[in-house]
């Protein structure tokens, strides 16, 4: 287990380093000098030079890269050009909004997805299964930015019962969370359904039935537990998609999280904040995958022994 853990930690580290490198290179390839963008076209060359040196932009790319890596470890991403405070602070302010949005979406997806997947699997190809499968097919396919706009059209513009964006009122998280949860919910439904169907065909389920256990107990105690293993893994992998989806959903609903911050910062060429956003999002993704891997070992003792 410890060798397994070490291997996982090392590969997580490589992924984060790779991501940080990609973002460092990408952001410097963006056309447009941030100093010029910031000061406007009327700035004098002296002003531009002064600003560039104060942000370290006049140093060699390699030394900027090294500094970037060293500072990254301490979550020091330099000052935000646009907002006039440390990028780390900007990120810290936006992080809770994204975390709460992702968490609520995850809960919605799991709480709704498991029962729907289970009822579909209990009567495969019955009418419930068909309705649920159409729902999950649609939910996975619909572009989330459009779903968001349609929700705004219905609930904010027509019925006028929910705010169209922002995070001020208590109901504001409802629509973004639902929009973000929809594709994820569909994935959970499909996974639970196929996982349960597979497990229900296994010998030990037949044994459980043969010894006269009630169906609820067969499903609840024998089948569901064994189905959890693949479901947990893929749910964990799909969580990254949830973080990616947050970029779009937050923009639609003006939700003050990392995703909207990222899009706004790209538009403003706010290097340090873009870097910090991406590093934090990738870090979150890698951490989730790590936790999922460990959980996997916890759920399935064979993994622990085998590696």
């Amino acid at each position: 287990m410890s060798g397994y853990l070490a291997h996982r930690l090392l590969s997580s580290f490589v992924v984060i380093l790779g991501a940080a490198t990609i973002i460092f290179v990408a952001i410097r390839a963006v056309p447009g000098d941030p100093a010029i963008v910031m000061l406007g076209p009327s700035a004098t060359p002296e002003q531009i030079a002064a600003l560039r040196s104060s942000y370290g932009l006049d140093q060699s790319v390699f030394s900027q890269y090294l500094q970037f890596l060293i500072r990254m470890v301490t979550f020091d991403f330099g000052p935000s050009f646009r907002l006039g405070m440390p990028a780390g602070q900007v990120i810290a302010n936006a992080l809770p909004a994204t975390a709460s949005l992702a968490f609520i979406s995850l809960c919605v997806a799991l709480v709704a997805g498991f029962p729907l997947g289970i009822v579909s699997a209990l009567r495969p190809n019955g009418w419930v299964d068909r309705v649920v499968s159409i729902f999950s097919m649609t939910g996975q396919a619909l572009p989330s930015f459009w779903v968001g706009i349609m929700l705004v059209l219905i609930f904010s513009r027509t019925l006028r019962i929910l705010p169209s964006g922002g995070a001020e009122s208590p109901g504001a998280i409802l629509m973004p969370a639902l929009t973000l949860a929809l594709p994820f919910l569909s994935v959970v439904v499909r996974l639970v359904r196929s996982g349960l169907l597979e497990v229900l065909g296994e010998g030990y389920v037949q044994t459980a039935r043969a010894k006269g256990l009630k169906e609820t107990r067969v499903v609840g105690r024998h089948a569901l537990r064994n189905m959890l293993i693949p479901v947990v893994t893929i749910v964990g992998l799909e969580l990254g998609g949830l973080l990616g989806g947050a970029v779009i959903v937050e923009t639609v609903f003006a939700w003050p999280g990392l995703g909207r911050l990222l899009i706004d910062s790209i538009a403003a060429r706010d290097y340090s904040v873009v870097q910090a956003c991406v590093v934090v999002l990738v870090l979150g993704f890698v951490l989730i995958n790590l936790v999922v891997d460990l959980l996997y070992g916890f759920l399935d003792p064979r993994v622990r022994v085998g590696s």
């Binding site: 990609i22 973002i23 990408a26 952001i27 572009p143 349609m150 923009t251 990738v282």
Partner: protein, 295 residues
């Protein structure tokens, strides 16, 4: 893995026996896709859509309203008085072009690299698959957003950006399939008879890749189209002013209270296509390779 992909003749047989009854889940979405392609190709000849024309006297007309020249605007008109149906048809052309070219580039590149990794093994395999892992650590839309921001909005750029985010999927499938095939008896037999690597790749491995790669391409097609629309919506895909569905939906946001159709119609058309492609992809996957998983 080996036994799962082994019964090629059996699979061929079952698809012949299934052919006797019509598979609606294959036929209906397939037909819908054909309609989109046909409309995208001949549509611009049927409707008069001018991306720069403005007609402020008949802006924000609801669907089915009669325009001044006597024609009916089925989808209504947008904020500068352009016919929304014409705009949506022009958008279909963009979406399908992006989807098709992206998959051709990503498919060829990914398949080539996947076969290389699977066939050669060793450090080539390690490097390529590590690269793939790192890239998969990025949610693909995040990567697309970043790269699109770097290269700027244009049709060619969006295709390259999306191809760049999708090659991994093809590479993984191609590698797995190559690994499954390359040690099979008929490959060893060919090698014994003196076949070179190139011959084996062309005649033994590539034919085994056709079905899974096409299935993956179908599933990816819907994702690519949604990704294009999403990027365009964010202002990072197609330039503002082009009739891309994402751009149209974004520009309709400011008119939700007065003209609901501007955002709704392109979205409905986009969703219908993506759902049809999704059903088609699922069906193809069930038919040709139940073991194939795509993300």
């Amino acid at each position: 893995m080996k036994s799962a992909t082994a019964p090629v003749p059996a699979r061929a047989l079952s698809s012949i026996s299934a052919r006797s009854k019509i598979d609606l889940r294959l036929l209906v979405p397939g037909l819908i896709c054909v309609v989109y392609v046909v409309v995208a190709i001949i549509g611009p000849f049927l409707t008069r859509y001018d991306p720069v024309a403005t007609n402020t006297s008949q802006r924000l007309r609801p669907p089915f309203s009669e325009l001044r020249d006597g024609s009916i605007a089925l989808f209504g008109t947008d904020q500068v008085g352009r016919d929304l149906l014409g705009q949506v048809i022009a958008g279909a052309q963009i979406s399908l072009t992006v989807g098709f070219l992206t998959l051709v580039i990503a498919g060829i590149l990914g398949t080539a690299l996947g076969v290389l990794a699977g066939y050669r093994g060793g450090w080539v395999d390690t490097v390529l698959m590590r690269l793939a892992d790192i890239q998969l650590a990025f949610p693909s839309i995040l990567l697309a957003v970043l790269v699109a921001a770097v290269v700027g909005p244009s049709l060619l750029n969006i295709i390259l950006v999306l191809a760049f985010t999708r090659w991994v999927v093809f590479a993984r499938v191609a590698r797995a399939q190559t690994l499954a095939v390359k040690n099979r008896d008929f490959v060893s037999a060919s090698r014994t008879l003196g076949a070179g690597d190139w011959h084996i790749v062309r005649h033994c491995i590539l034919p085994a890749l056709v079905a899974p790669v096409l299935v993956v391409a179908t599933v990816q097609f819907g994702l690519v189209i949604v990704a294009e629309a999403s990027l365009s919506f964010l202002g990072l895909g197609m330039p503002a002013g082009t009739p891309s569905w994402g751009v149209s939906i974004a520009s309709g946001r400011n008119y939700l209270a007065t003209a609901w159709w501007i955002s709704t119609m392109p979205g409905l058309v986009l969703s219908a296509l993506v759902i049809a492609v999704g059903v088609l992809g699922d069906r193809l996957r069930d038919r040709f390779d139940p073991n194939l998983t795509t993300r």
